[in-house]
């Protein structure tokens, strides 16, 4: 493991740009930390920290100048790998000929800077959705193969984090090209830097760095242990999949529906949600048409429309669809949970509905029913 000083961080960004990468990382816009193109460390939310609770997100400046003293914001890297609006094709209809023009494969090489452990897991989950099966999303695959992950170990956790319950963090263990751990206190400020791939090694070798000594190596573990101790939210996932799939007719779905607005925020901020819809646009002469793909949400009424009407009319049925897909069906479909415990859905729900609470309620009711059946 090596050490780079904070000024070398900008050199890292420059090296990435030299190699043709589009460098993207956290920035502050409209009071939230979102992902955008960055040119240097001064574009980062230096010195800022966040407070997150159900339905609550605030930033404030601190006395220290840490680069990464916050957890995840409303956006995830799917913003780049799986853009919210994509053109599928342009079609031309003239003289009884239909010509369909394929757009070019996206060529951008992204360098994602500041990727958290939960986010690496969510990207890998989407990898399985988009190219783990018979059909391949070639756009996603191309962007993913050309991207670089510069990960960061979380130096704090917020109230909605539950990555430890989902086995996805807070420590970054794999799936990265370069891994940074920020060490900052009254006396010092530097980064521990490790590599996880040949591409990563190549870049780090070009940086001004030195080997970390014993006490510096220990600091990484201290950071991680501190973060783990700050995680207060837990979800007991034992048997959760089976319990949820057996609880489709529970009255609890209509209970949560009394609060849920079906606004779909949770699906927009969730790093693994992938549902989309397609739309067609024509010019007035009907000679040119475009087919666009857009993010969609299972919370909309039209989502389940078949001739006659929608299948999921009640909000309870739509909330049930989202939660059981995320925590149960995903296992059957893609071999893992769909949730990485990032807590975004809890922070950005306008009424503060907590997925861990709702899932736990269903678990408790089901266990109560089993016990009372055993008693009779």
């Amino acid at each position: 493991m090596k050490i780079i000083d904070i000024y070398e961080f900008d050199n890292l960004i420059n090296k990435l740009k030299e190699k043709g990468y589009t460098t993207v990382g956290p920035t502050i816009q409209n009071g939230a930390i979102v992902y955008s193109e960055i040119d240097s460390s001064s574009d980062l939310p230096v010195g800022f920290t966040d407070t997150q609770k159900p339905g609550f997100y605030r930033l404030e400046k601190t006395a220290q100048n840490a680069f990464f003293n916050y957890v995840v914001g409303p956006q995830s890297w799917k913003k780049f790998l799986y853009p919210s609006i994509q053109k599928l094709f342009t079609a031309y209809y003239k003289n009884n000929k239909l010509e369909i023009e394929k757009p070019d494969q996206p060529k951008t090489q992204y360098a994602f800077i500041g990727v958290r452990a939960c986010e690496i897991n969510s990207i890998e989950i989407q990898d399985r959705v988009f190219f783990g099966g018979e059909y391949q999303n070639s756009n996603y695959k191309a962007l993913r193969k050309n991207s670089l992950i510069i990960a960061v170990n979380c130096s704090k956790a917020e109230a909605n984090c539950f990555c430890t319950s989902m086995g996805t963090g807070p420590e970054v263990k794999s799936g990265y090209d370069i891994l940074l751990t920020e060490i900052i206190n009254e006396k010092e400020h530097y980064f521990l830097i490790e590599t996880g791939s040949e591409k990563g090694e190549e870049i780090v070798n070009e940086l001004n760095s030195r080997e970390a000594n014993e006490s510096e190596l220990n600091k990484k573990n201290q950071v991680i242990q501190k973060t783990i101790s700050q995680i207060k939210k837990h979800l007991d996932t034992e048997n959760l999949k089976d319990i949820l799939l057996k609880s489709l007719e529970s009255p609890l779905w209509d209970e949560v529906a009394k609060r849920c607005l079906a606004c779909g925020n949770c699906t927009m901020v969730c790093p693994t949600c992938f549902c989309m819809t397609v739309e067609d646009y024509t010019d007035l002469l009907k000679t040119r048409a475009e087919r666009i793909q857009k993010w969609d949400s299972c919370f909309t009424l039209e989502y389940s429309y078949i001739h006659g009407g929608s299948v999921r009319v009640s909000i309870g049925s739509r909330y049930r669809q989202w939660l059981t897909h995320k925590l149960a069906s995903w296992h059957e479909q893609f071999g893992t949970s769909g949730c990485v415990g990032c807590g975004r859905c809890i922070t950005w729900c306008p009424v503060g509905i907590d997925i861990t609470e709702e899932a736990t309620k269903i678990k408790k009711v089901s266990q109560y029913q089993t016990t009372s059946m055993e008693e009779t």
């Binding site: 078949i306 001739h307 006659g308 009407g309 929608s310 299948v311 009319v313």
Partner: protein, 152 residues
């Protein structure tokens, strides 16, 4: 039990039955109240009961995913619900939902069925009465099917 018996003997379904048969039936009966919106039973559930509506309104429905629950008939005071308790595989083929506050006499179908097996005389009387309910319902259903007011 006594007050239940008084209510039952007033019902046309039980009318004309000898008192020992009425006693037998009362032994399988209880009063139940359903709040509006509550389901008496749902499609595919085990059909263990037989209902006589004392007051209120019940909608018989079939669920379709694209349009939701379709009401095929409503029943009210004095109507009987259900004969699936008498016919294997003893499963409901539709849903029954209380539209208003509904009071019913719920008869334990399994209990009644067993009593009919043991006493064929009672069984025959019950069957006669059920047959007349079937006849009424089927005639009504046929008329409904004719779509008499539809486009020609």
């Amino acid at each position: 039990m006594e007050s239940l018996e008084k209510v039952l003997i007033q019902h046309p379904f039980v009318e004309g039955l000898p008192s020992e048969h009425i006693h037998l039936i009362v032994g399988c009966a209880k009063n139940v109240v359903f709040e509006p919106g509550k389901y008496l039973f749902k499609e595919n559930e085990e059909a263990n009961s037989f209902y006589i509506i004392r007051s209120g309104k019940v909608a018989l429905e079939i669920y379709s995913p694209d349009v939701g629950s379709i009401i095929i008939q409503t029943l009210g005071e004095g109507d009987i619900i259900g004969w699936s308790w008498m016919v294997p595989p003893y499963q409901w083929r539709f849903d029954a939902r209380a539209v208003e506050l509904t009071r019913v006499i719920e008869l334990d179908g399994t209990c009644l069925r067993n009593k009919c097996e043991a006493d064929p005389g009672l069984g025959y009387e019950i069957m006669k009465r059920l047959a007349s309910v079937f006849e009424q319902r089927i005639n009504a259903m046929r008329l409904q099917l004719l779509d008499l007011y539809g486009k020609k």
